[in-house]
């Protein structure tokens, strides 16, 4: 209980208000009176609460398994300095910086986050964050629709299935149709039809994810970029593994006008799915359409530099039904964590960790490929995920691995019937050689053949 009132306080306050009892302040009409006994979890003293949650935590066997799970949520190292800073009470318990004079710290941090996102993606502007990568994609599509008024969206089938599903949820609300581009044999998006489709001028945007859901680097060539641009089809880049921005070409380099991504990899815990932090960045042209909050630099009456939330007239609290989006609360604290991560690791650290991811993934790929009965499914260059064909339903193989205490990856058959025999595996800087050895030993047993020496 966190209420400080003593009996005396309550008595004095009731008297000041001029009522006899607390009940007198909370009268409700008979029609809506609470008649049921409430059934919630019981009140416990704090020591018991801790015991209870430790007990619940112990029921999560998955947290102590060797894991190769990725697919949009990644196990990366977060320097403890982040927690020490981010959990400071001022950052933790502040709200939206509407009173700018006493929120300069947070506003500057948001300005720095916006800058980092622009520097990594090559875009001109970025907003203060959105809920996650999937909703970022949905908001980016809405931006494109507002830009050219078209009512159809093109999206690659190699974009994260959950992101595409969320896009569909949002588009159903707006009566916008979605069409998909197929996957090529090498694991990239099949872009052969893109020029023809774009030329129809029916599509507001085309969304490509790189690295895509399969970990494959998946960017359009010069011809496809030109076709998009010429037809006014907005090229949207989706980034689910933000760490890849430390190594790979910035989306601005391959013609993206809007970048929608997920920054969980920058120090945000996996936490069984959330909270994460999405980002939206774009070229100058889309400034007026970008949803959510923006921190801007200005001066005070003495000419001193300071920061404010700006361009608020776009937002729901002013524009109401004419707002570009309904977003209010964003993911400020997670964006703060990501900003601290980038500040701490810097360009050198980001390069090193990206290299570590590539190295561990190569080690994983070679070890798995060496198993008779397993093969790498896609040939195109990839970042920190691979698709492994086990020549039997992936879900059976994964169940057998689970019995051995290993979470081998995501069953691709869950989303792509044609890849039902494939597992999506991730390796990061946190994956050890020992982990890989444990996996290969177990996989070898699971596929029932001898490994090549």
């Amino acid at each position: 209980m966190y209420t400080p009132h003593t009996e005396r306080d309550i008595a004095q306050m009731l008297q000041a208000v001029g009522v006899d009892s607390l009940d007198a302040l909370l009268r409700v009409p008979d029609a809506v009176k609470l008649r049921e006994r409430l059934d919630v979890v019981p009140a416990l003293p704090e020591t018991e609460i801790v015991r209870r949650f430790e007990e619940l935590a112990r029921m999560n066997a998955g947290a102590s398994c060797v894991s190769f799970l990725g697919a949009g949520s990644y196990r990366h190292y977060a320097p403890p300095a982040i927690t020490a800073l981010a959990m400071r009470g001022e950052f933790l318990t502040a709200y939206t910086p509407y009173q700018a004079e006493v929120s300069q710290g947070y506003l500057q941090a948001i300005y720095e986050w916006q800058t980092y996102i622009c520097l990594l993606t090559g875009m001109d502007i970025a907003n203060a964050s959105v809920y996650d990568g999937a909703t970022a994609l949905a908001e980016a599509a809405i931006m494109a629709i507002n830009a050219n008024g078209r009512q159809k969206i093109l999206v690659s089938r190699a974009v994260h299935p959950n992101y595409r599903a969320v896009l569909k949820t949002y588009c159903d609300g707006l009566d916008v149709a979605i069409e998909e581009l197929p996957i090529a044999e090498d694991g990239t998006t099949d872009l052969r039809e893109l020029a023809r489709l774009a030329a129809s001028k029916e599509y507001a945007c085309v969304a490509l994810q790189s690295p895509n859901f399969f970990g494959v680097i998946d960017t359009p060539g010069a011809a496809e970029q030109a076709a998009s641009k010429a037809s006014g089809t907005v090229l949207v880049a989706v980034v689910a593994e933000a760490l890849s921005l430390g190594a790979l070409q910035a989306p601005s380099q391959w013609g993206a006008e809007i970048v929608a991504g997920e920054a969980q990899s920058f120090g945000v815990p996996m936490a069984y799915g959330g909270p994460y932090v999405g980002f939206i960045a774009s070229t100058k042209e889309h400034l007026r359409r970008i949803p959510g909050r923006l921190a801007g630099k200005t001066v005070d009456s003495n000419g001193k530099e300071g920061y404010v939330l700006t361009l608020q007239a776009r937002e729901q609290h002013i524009r109401r039904e004419r707002a570009t989006s309904n977003i209010c609360t964003n993911q400020a604290h997670c964006a703060l964590i990501a900003t601290m991560y980038l500040a701490l690791v810097g360009k050198t650290g980001l390069r090193d960790v990206a290299a570590a991811n590539l190295e561990r993934t190569r080690e994983l790929a070679e070890a798995v490929d060496a198993i008779d009965g397993c093969s790498l499914h896609f040939t195109a260059p990839h970042f920190n995920e691979i698709v492994v064909c086990v020549h039997q339903p992936a879900k059976h193989a994964l169940a057998k691995l689970e019995q051995r205490g290993i979470l081998g990856g995501v069953d691709l058959g869950r989303y792509y019937p044609e890849y039902a025999n494939c597992i999506l595996m991730a390796a990061t800087e946190m994956t050890t050689t020992q982990d890989i050895q444990l996996l290969t030993k177990a996989l070898h047993e699971v596929v029932h053949v001898h490994a090549r020496v």
């Binding site: 608020q312 007239a313 776009r314 002013i318 004419r322």
Partner: protein, 127 residues
Amino acid sequence: MAQPEGLLYSKEHEWVKIDGDRATVGITDYAQDSLGDIVYVELPKVGAQVAQFGPVGVVESVKAVSDLFTPVGGEILEVNTSLENDPSLVNREPFEGGWLFKLKLPGGSQNAGLLSASDYESFVKES
């Protein structure tokens, strides 16, 4: 600010100066004062056909946003491109340099729905 001569007004606080088959439109001093510092103006496209009193754009200030409704219908001939770099013109010179757009009018009078200067002043006093 004194109202200039020869203008007609709409209840949405726009003014229109009609010159034969040409018209110039802007927002009134009262409107710019209510909105506060204007930061952005979204203007209709040149060549667009607009209906009288239809929505044609938006005026954004730091704390508010207001739809623009054209007091007369016609074809948009010109928009005030200076406002892109200097939206404050609308605040400083709502009747002069802060004009918003010009139209070509079709035949026939559209004055029926519009207010004279004195009617507009009364209308504002009542608000």
